[in-house]
Symmetry: C2
Subunit: 114 residues, 2 copies
């Protein structure tokens, strides 16, 4: 099921590129949940939810365990850390850019900025 042709960062960033899946991540940050727990706030069918969870699991963002007839999902944020580390390499760029913006704003004291 996992696509070995796609590298881990591809899968993590892709998994996080959908608002429903980010909401699922946010929900799981509150604690473990079953699929029926998850299906309630998101107006989506169970098969649709299954697909989202599959994509999150392929990205190693969540872990799933069957307990009885329920599937329990919990967050595994290690993959997110890798994505954050990739982004952090550019932190210096956006900090520099915001510094420039700040300096620029100081040169134009009280003009309306738009």
């Amino acid at each position: 099921m996992a696509k070995p042709t796609r590298q881990p960062l591809d899968r993590v960033f892709f998994a996080l590129s959908d608002p429903t899946r980010r909401s699922i991540v946010m929900r799981l940050a509150q604690g473990e949940a079953t699929m029926t727990d998850l299906s309630k706030p998101f107006s989506i069918s169970l098969p649709g939810l299954t697909k989202h969870l599959q994509i999150l699991a392929d990205a190693d963002l969540i872990e799933r365990r069957k307990r009885g007839r329920s599937q329990h999902c919990r967050l595994n944020p290690v993959a997110m850390r890798d994505a954050a580390e990739w982004l952090d390499r550019y932190r210096v760029f956006w900090e520099r850019q915001l510094d420039s913006l700040e300096r620029y704003l100081k040169t134009m004291p009280t003009e309306d900025a738009n």
Copy 2:
């Protein structure tokens, strides 16, 4: 051209979910580049490159300026900062998880970990 139905974070994470586009970002971190500059290391046609740049531009990850007949691209990492900030909200989770792993490893001094 921009898809207003998709929110900014969707576009940023999606743009970064492709290895070619991440390579373009990495290349642009070295400094501005034209499309022919970019097309060389990536074995892709110009129209293919144009599409990738369009996706990066839609995500506000790059800025493009035509100078003569060349298109100059440069990094605009502010959108990346937003993505990093989203991920940072889960930093506590992966740090906690790594702490547990560390504690766990300390309880099993020199066993082979698999």
